[in-house]
Amino acid sequence: MDRRRFLRNAGRTGIALATLPGVVDSLSMRALAHGNDAIDKLLGSGDRILVLIQMAGGNDGLNTVVPITIDKYYTDRPTIAIPKSSALRINDDLGWHPAMQGFRDAFDAGTMAIVQGVTYPNPDRSHFRGTDIWLTATDADVFASTGWLGRYLETLAPGYPATLPDHPLAIQIGTSISLGLLGSQGAVGISFRDPDEFYRLVNTGSSEEVPSGPASDTPAGREIAFMRDVARSANVYAKVVKQAADKGKTTVSYPTSDLGTKLKVVSQLISGGLSSRIYLLSWAGFNFDTHANQGGVAGTHANLLRELSEAVTAFMADMKAQGHDERVAGMTFSEFGRRVMENGSQGTDHGTAAPLFVFGKHVNGGVYGAHPSLTDLDDRGDMLMRYDYRDIYASVLLQWLGAPSTLAQNVLFKDFAAKALPLFNVSSVGNDTSRPMPVAITSIGPNPAVDRVRIRVDVPPLSTAGITVRDMAGSVVRTAGVDAWSGLCEMDVRGLSQGTYVVTLTADRYTAHSFLTVRR
């Protein structure tokens, strides 16, 4: 039964409205729905996967997405700037670093989003504090001991870690475990470099076990309990992971770089049916910390960007070839960008805002936000914020992972839902008949529009639906109600300047996005 029929039946059969998703707290609904596959599927996007790629050390955003028409960029960076002639075109004002051909191709195909000027208020220029802030999703002056992914994932597995889900909730390719994956009860994920090595490690020891002593609330007692939990999830998951890796395949040849090798493992596991929702990859040590001799078109930074672009391109091609691109999206992040002005050693010191990339078949490609000003800087000569990084996390949680807004708010400690960017075009996920998509924008016409536009939508008849139009900087420029029964919305676009706008349909807690072009 798809959601529409469920809702209609609900209306007819008199099920109280309070039992409908979006009306009740979704967690209690989850509990109600437990074991009912159809309802489970209604409640979320249960198999979507997010691949997070950490660029540790502070990526130099200005040399990644290059502001080719800003003179100050060239005067402030006499030895390391990327010449306009070398940059790969994004639009009239921006160009990719020439090492990023793969990202450019994805951008041109509409599957790569560039979010400009991402940081947070009062940005911290420490690697370690900055990284912690990004991983814990807090304000700059708040210290948390759990990560945003950990807080989200532990809600998917009530009883964790006493009761372990069949598959690990998250996987980090490497041997360390990120603060981002720590939940209130410890890590909600496992880490390994290679599935076979992991399996051998766990399964070659003797089986004789000495029983644990009674739980004790001493420092040592807490550490023992912590280690027993880690050991148990390693024991349980080593086999699951190996089975998936053995069954999985890859269809493209991956670069032999560190990131390429890691993404190849991710592909194998997804292909083999592992249902982990989050894959986290950090690579290149702290090499993005380019204080000296960072190079321009070629050199240290160029090599890192090339490794990123080539590995991600291979991975996404592989996902597409295997049909997994429907449910796989990726995102990059780095603890900060770098200073506008280069230093005296042909490098750049720690800065603030930088672009962030979101990619995947269901990503609304494009450039979000104007480039931060290179003249209106903070007192350290660093760029000002266009977007809070949690605006993007909110988009990921709400649109891609299907978290209810109350949960997203809990995970991010604050409500960023209203600031979420329309990064994901999730309505087309409904092509898969096993996953009915309850809302969609079916047509926008005329498009391009000059004065009036008519938007047809498909929403449940009992829902409260509305349309929001945002410019590419994320500012709301129009809102309108939708008549849920007719699915029709008319809107006046006179007064909007020429350009592309994101149209967001919301109905209950579902959203769908499309684009509108205004011509003058």
Partner: protein
């Protein structure tokens, strides 16, 4: 500031000196924390002594290892990559020989300073510089932090690692200046962005020449600057002086020392108490360490076993406990690397984070495999352990059992092995299971340490103990 991290802490640390002589358990606790070699023999040496006498003895010990042949020879101009890279493992081996040499507090502190004033061979490249830096740490291991910090500013490995050699008057590189405050002296929140800029100016003037860091006052920015509220034409020595005058500096060091030697979550009161000691000792580490390691706080029951072993503690400690001093360092260093602690290659300038970061779904099983295979004389992957000449070597379980207990009594073997290998007390039930493993089917009255079947049984006991999570604590 708001904190969501409200882990229970021990109350304020009592830093008054303990006068009571050390019991065996106290002495084991001291040598677990103060050295890399927590052996039965060392504990027996200090049992019955006062903490002050034992710590004085530990402070006097030094491992002496001849320098690598290339230590003081500058690299040739234009030599190929392989010529640099060839020396890195030799440097690591040289460190390992110190770690497995004479047990000493000094070597524990050399590792502490390496994890504090970090540098790595990929960035520094020239092994000679890292050799020199390690020797600096050894020289000042238990000496004056003030002098050490001053020397570190112009240390060639540090100049390269944090770009001090590329920081020029008029356009300073901030890398060193930022980490100086954040990671080396004050900790975040105790300085401003402006202090970083001004200190970075004061740190200019350094270059690397040959194997030395050379200061040229002509190249240094000697103009007026304001650092942490003090204005003057400061140079790098002034930055050290002004920084060490801050209240935050002894507190920052105190927290790290607590985490290394006592417990992971010291209370603010404990930190303040040790910071006061550091200040009144004017950063003399010998005096500070003596106070800490002889204090009542250090010997409290609540902190026993409260620290998760670093890979160095696990690997060197296990080798030392079984007298396996001759195992070729390469195998031991390789395990440390796999467990996340490659010596001379910390993951970032913050160093190894320690605590829970040591234990993951990958590293915990590897710790178990390493230790139980080591008991058999094998590496984690199953190859034989060998000595420097390639001959297989393996621990002798019978000799071990006889060295720690009356080996004719299987219960005594279990009890003594637990005491030497585990930092937390075992339960009756755990000892009963361990006894069963030791006897493995024979009745206890038939136990005979001198029969051929005894070795395999003692090995079984040792393997069962090193698999326990408790074995990862110290």
């Amino acid at each position: 500031m708001i904190s969501f991290d409200e882990k229970p802490r021990l109350a304020v640390a009592d830093l008054t000196q303990r006068q009571e002589p050390l019991s065996y358990d106290d002495a084991m606790h001291l040598v677990r924390r103060a050295t890399l070699q927590p052996t039965n023999a060392l504990a027996l040496r200090y049992m019955g002594q006062t903490p002050a006498a034992a710590v004085a003895d530990l402070l006097s010990k030094t491992a002496t290892v001849p320098p690598p042949s290339w230590a003081t020879t500058p690299p040739q101009q234009g030599q190929p990559f392989s010529e640099y890279a060839r020396l890195w493992p030799e440097l690591q081996t040289w460190w390992y020989r110190h770690a497995i040499g004479t047990p000493s507090l000094r070597e524990r502190m050399v590792l502490f300073w390496h994890n504090h004033f970090t540098a790595d061979y990929i960035t520094v490249y020239v092994a000679q510089y890292l050799y020199k830096q390690s020797q600096l740490f050894r020289q000042y291991a238990v000496g004056s932090f003030r002098e050490l910090a001053t020397k570190v500013v112009g240390d060639p490995a540090m100049l390269i690692y944090l770009n001090g050699n590329q920081s020029i008057k008029g356009n300073p590189n901030e890398n060193f200046g930022r980490e100086w405050f954040e990671l080396f002296t004050l900790g975040i929140g105790n300085y401003s962005e402006r202090d970083i800029v001004e200190a970075s100016r004061a740190f200019t003037g350094w270059r690397v020449a040959g194997l030395d860091g050379v200061y040229n006052a002509q190249l240094a920015d000697r103009d007026t600057k304001t650092i942490l509220g003090q204005t003057g034409s400061w140079d790098y020595q002034d930055v050290v002086r002004i920084t060490l005058e801050q209240q935050a500096c002894p507190r920052f060091l105190a927290r790290k020392l607590f985490r290394t030697f006592v417990e992971q979550h010291p209370s603010d009161d404990s930190i303040n108490a040790l910071a006061t000691v550091i200040r009144s000792a004017d950063y003399d580490m010998q005096s500070v360490l003596t106070t800490l390691l002889t204090s009542n706080a250090f010997y409290e029951t609540a902190v026993r076993g409260a620290i998760i072993k670093a890979p160095a503690d696990l690997v060197v400690g296990l080798a030392a406990q079984y007298g396996m001093l001759e195992v070729h360092p390469t195998a031991m260093l390789a395990v440390m690397t796999q467990l996340g602690q490659e010596i001379f290659y910390p993951p970032s300038v913050e160093g190894w984070k320690g605590w829970h970061s040591w234990i993951t779904s990958s590293t915990f099983p590897l710790r178990q495999r390493f230790a139980e295979n080591f008991i058999l004389g094998k590496t984690a992957s199953g190859a034989s352990l060998t000595d420097g000449s390639g001959q297989p070597v393996a621990p002798n379980p019978i000799a071990f059992a006889k060295s720690i207990a009356n080996a004719d009594d299987p219960r005594k073997i279990v009890e003594a092995t637990c005491k030497v290998m585990l930092a937390v007390p075992t339960t009756q039930e755990q000892r009963a299971v361990l006894l069963e493993i030791l006897l493995s089917g024979i009745p206890d009255y038939e136990w005979d340490i001198d029969t051929p079947g005894a070795a395999v049984r003692v090995r079984g006991l040792l393997q069962a103990i090193v698999r326990m999570p408790e074995y990862q604590l110290m």
